[in-house]
């Protein structure tokens, strides 16, 4: 490559790289009185809520919130179970009313009996150190112990709730049994989805079997009456969340019988609109206004309020109730608190520091070992990292997490090793006495298929694993697949181009690359 061509190419690449690095790392306030914030790609990328980020300059969303990681913990109380605090507060309230009533007052006896009734109505769960109270009539048998029937109902409702949370495929989400008979759900936060998380926490509390109906409102709608021996699965097969460029949908798949039923309900929809209701227990999770006759096996339900999480929550709530046993135990959403990032408040910045340390070590090694080619390696590595950040930002299902950091770092290591192999290969050719141009050509030719095969095999493994797995493993696999493809391109094309461009300015090319000829023994 000529000097002028090299200079122009390098100048353009340097400007491009500087721009990319700026877009990937810079955060600063701007606008009148600094009320706006310039956010880089890292800041704008979705992050694993396990990673905290308490440093100033963190991403500020349009609603003014900063990304800090963590999630929301909600406690669900099954019907007939209340917290010790609720019991104590309610009883104290009734007693307070009684205390402020004159004993000669007519209502005193009623208030006294209200206090006694309330105290009698509930039994403390002694096995759990009285942290919850049971409504005796609903939960306990004559012996004062929890009935087997309630235990079975609770187990069924818990399984339904767990299936829903698992079906969300959210990294960091968890379900725990609290005090034996209440449930705690940890829902991780993602940017801008506060209202969706609230919707998810409330909707997931709906338990019971699935049913359908039509009419003008959810309460008075005509519900499907199942015949004896018939189950809801005779009408509906499954519910799934779908996404495309137009939005997020809930896909309801009916059986032929279900199609005929919906067709019958909506036969007059063209003249007067009919609303279809889809219930879980007594709660309508979907209200669909039909303005034309529906006669199809698959129904796509879209709502302006559906983002990906909301659509998944609705689909999973319906799907889990289709597959659930007969459980009618209702949950009530209790206390909700904000939890901190489980990996620590500075986890994100520390991981960035880790990647920085690795990059620095790699660059120093190449500069020491190969001198001038270190520059080619530096440019290649910066292009690799910038493009990986851009890809993780641009691909909607990827987010920054420990697994993505690991995948990017391992991809970087692969790139470094392959660069080393190709440089060493050229070095060996040069040592034999070839010119620098033919050494580079022969070096790359010699290890082309080795490098190519490693990258293809790794990318195959990673992408296939991504299509089958969920959460952390899926994120790791897809990111590593991308990293493998980029690493291959960078090693075989980008690095070679940079090498040629930088080398064109060197007078002594061997010295520039720290390559030496093998001294022939003079006999």
């Amino acid at each position: 490559m000529g000097k002028i061509k090299s200079a122009i190419s390098l100048a353009l690449i340097t400007v491009l790289l500087a721009g990319l690095c700026f877009m990937c790392t810079a955060v600063f306030p701007h606008g009148t009185e600094n009320i706006k914030m310039f956010n880089n790609f890292v800041a704008m990328t979705e992050k694993d809520p396990k990673l905290g980020n308490e440093l100033p300059g963190a991403y500020v969303a349009s609603d003014g919130r900063r990304y800090i990681g963590g999630g929301y913990t909600a406690v669900y109380y099954p019907e007939g179970v209340i917290s010790a605090q609720e019991y104590t507060d309610n009883l104290a309230g009734l007693r307070d009313v009684l205390e402020h009533t004159d004993p000669s007052d007519k209502s005193y006896a009623d208030k006294q009996s209200a206090v006694d009734d309330y105290a009698e109505r509930y039994t403390p769960y002694t096995e759990g150190n009285s942290t919850v109270y049971f409504e005796t009539e609903k939960v306990c048998g004559e012996d004062g112990e929890v009935t087997e029937e309630f235990k079975t109902e609770f187990a069924g409702a818990l399984a339904q709730l767990r299936a829903r949370v698992e079906g969300l495929h959210l990294s960091g989400a968890s379900v725990s049994v609290r005090d034996g008979y209440t449930v705690e759900v940890l829902m991780p936060t993602y940017q801008g989805t506060n209202s969706t998380i609230a919707y998810a926490l409330n909707t997931m509390a709906y338990t019971g079997t699935f049913s359908m109906g039509y009419g003008s409102d959810a309460d008075s709608a005509t519900k499907l009456e199942l015949e004896e021996g018939e189950s809801i699965s005779s009408y509906i097969k499954s519910a799934q969340a779908r996404s495309n460029t137009n939005g997020n949908y809930v896909e309801l798949r009916f059986t032929d019988k279900g199609r005929r039923l919906i067709s019958g309900w909506t036969s007059g929809a063209a003249d007067s609109a009919v609303t279809l209701f889809f219930y879980v227990g007594d709660n309508a999770v979907i209200s669909l206004s039909a303005q034309e006759h529906i006669n199809q096996k698959t129904l796509y339900v879209n709502s302006s309020s559906y983002d990906q999480l909301a659509a998944t929550v609705v689909a999973e709530t319906i799907d889990s109730s289709l597959n659930a046993g007969k459980t009618e135990l209702a949950f009530t959403l209790g206390e909700v608190v904000r939890e901190g990032a489980s990996f620590g408040d500075l986890a994100l910045i520390l991981l960035c520091v880790g990647v920085g340390v690795l990059l620095l070590a790699e660059l120093v090694f190449f500069f020491v070992k190969f001198r001038g080619i270190g520059l080619a390696n530096l440019y290649t590595m910066l292009i690799y990292l910038s493009l990986m950040i851009l890809l993780v930002w641009a691909i909607p299902f990827l987010h920054i997490g420990v697994e993505t950091f690991l995948a990017i770092a391992l991809g970087g290591a692969l790139l470094a090793v392959c660069n080393y192999v190709t440089y060493e290969s050229a070095k060996k050719e040069y040592a034999l006495g070839k010119t620098m141009t033919s050494s580079v050509k022969a070096g790359y030719k010699r290890c082309f298929f080795a490098v190519f095969d490693v990258h293809i095999a790794l990318a195959l493994l990673a992408f296939i694993a991504y299509f089958i797995s969920f959460t952390e493993l899926a994120a790791f696999a897809f990111t590593f697949g991308l990293a493998a493809v980029l690493s291959g391109l960078c090693t075989l094309a980008v690095s070679r181009f940079h090498w040629a461009a930088f080398m064109s300015f060197a007078k002594d090319k061997g010295k520039f690359c720290n390559f030496k000829r093998v001294e022939a023994d003079d006999e």
């Binding site: 396990k50 905290g52 929301y72 909600a74 917290s83 010790a84 605090q85 104590t88 507060d89 150190n129 942290t131 818990l158 698992e166 968890s174 725990s176 049994v177 609290r178 005090d179 506060n194 998380i197 609230a198 409330n202 959403l333 209790g334 206390e335 909700v336 608190v337 990996f343 620590g344 986890a347 520390l350 991981l351 520091v353 690795l358 070590a361 420990v402 950091f405 690991l406 391992l410 970087g412 290591a413 090793v417 095969d453 490693v454 293809i456 095999a457 790794l458 195959l460 493994l461 990673a462 992408f463 296939i464 694993a465 089958i468 797995s469 959460t471 952390e472 493993l473 899926a474 696999a477």
Partner: protein, 337 residues
């Protein structure tokens, strides 16, 4: 001499691996992984309070609780002041909670006593404020779908990768490689089940995936060297067993360097990362190290008999009178026509 040493080591490594993998499977079936970081069982001590305490008396409340802990012999792991959220909008409310996390062998009765003591003292110390202390026991539930889907994902991905390797490097290399890969993924998962090393749920599979990746990388280092060795003119007529053994020995250094680079990446990220993330990352080094065991000692030993078998078959085909290969015969027929 070297052959005997290699064979002996192969048998030793195979025996160790078998014991670890079998023990891992049994322990996993009985106890699962040690999911202590996720605190599958923990106690929390929660003190609910209102705005009267939130305005400057939070530390007094914390002191009251910690005094009660001392009296009852309780030690806590974590302490947080948390604001309650409105369940329908997730907006902050005026009520708050002081939450202590107690892990390990906590005594529920002692915690209940401490809660009673705090409730009794709070009435006099914080007159007019609402304070209510209670202890809670949490038992985590597991998501099984992640685990089996993850295992299938790694297995299918590895099989497809080795089909590619089979096309590029031959059946003997691919079969030996996939054996190493399966060994490495299983050994890594079994390692965590046997050692009871604390891990997050799902991460043993991630570590197994790292092991599968590392295994493919290291095996390809060997496979590339082997391909070059078989092509080299100086090795013409040399028995394949000898070539494989020599290549395995020569490939050890680059394989060690590759594993060290992968391990280095994991160690640096893990060492710099915060404690939670370190626990997520550092154990992955097992996944980077285990493939050394299989690619050094197991893979080449499996490759040798397979290669011999394919060589014999090829020789048999070539020895047939008039056999010149399918492609050559087809082109000759075409020329004749």
């Amino acid at each position: 001499m070297n052959k005997i040493k290699n064979n002996k080591l192969f048998a030793v490594v195979l025996a160790i691996s078998s014991v670890v993998i079998i023990a891992g499977i049994i322990l996993y079936a009985l106890l699962g992984f040690n999911l202590l970081p996720e605190r599958p069982e923990k106690y929390t001590f929660e003190v609910h309070y209102d705005v009267n305490i939130a305005l400057g008396k939070e530390e007094d409340l914390a002191k009251l609780c910690e005094d009660a802990f001392k009296e009852n012999g309780i030690s806590y792991e974590d302490k947080e002041f948390i604001v309650y959220m409105d369940g329908s909008s997730l907006a902050e409310t005026t009520d708050s909670m002081l939450k202590y996390t107690i892990r390990g062998t906590a005594d529920g009765d002692a915690l209940a006593k401490a809660a009673e003591a705090v409730n009794a003292s709070a009435k006099t110390q914080f007159d007019g404020a609402t304070v209510f202390a209670s202890m809670h026991k949490l038992e985590g539930t597991r998501f099984y779908e992640y685990a089996w889907r993850g295992a299938i994902a790694v297995a299918v991905g590895a099989i497809v990768a080795y089909i590619y390797i089979c096309i590029r490097y031959g059946v003997s290399v691919a079969v030996a490689g996939i054996t190493c890969c399966a060994h490495d993924a299983l050994f890594t998962a079994a390692f965590f089940a046997v050692t009871r090393f604390p891990v997050y749920a799902g991460t043993p599979l991630l570590f197994a995936a790292v092991a599968a990746l590392a295994s493919i990388v290291l095996w390809l280092v060997f496979a590339n060297k082997l391909r070059d060795a078989f092509k080299a003119p100086e090795n013409e007529g040399v028995p394949s067993e000898e070539i494989i053994r020599r290549t395995a020995k020569e490939a050890r250094k680059p394989m060690l360097i590759s594993a060290a680079v992968m391990g280095g990446v994991i160690v640096v990220l893990g060492a710099v990362a915060a404690s939670g993330a370190s626990l997520f990352l550092l154990p992955a080094i097992v996944g980077a190290a285990v493939p050394l065991l299989s690619t050094f000692f197991i893979g080449p030993e499996i490759c040798i008999p397979l290669r011999k078998m394919f060589d014999k078959r090829r020789e048999k085909k070539n020895s047939k009178p008039g056999y010149i290969g399918k492609k050559k015969k087809a082109s000759e027929n075409a020329d004749a026509e």
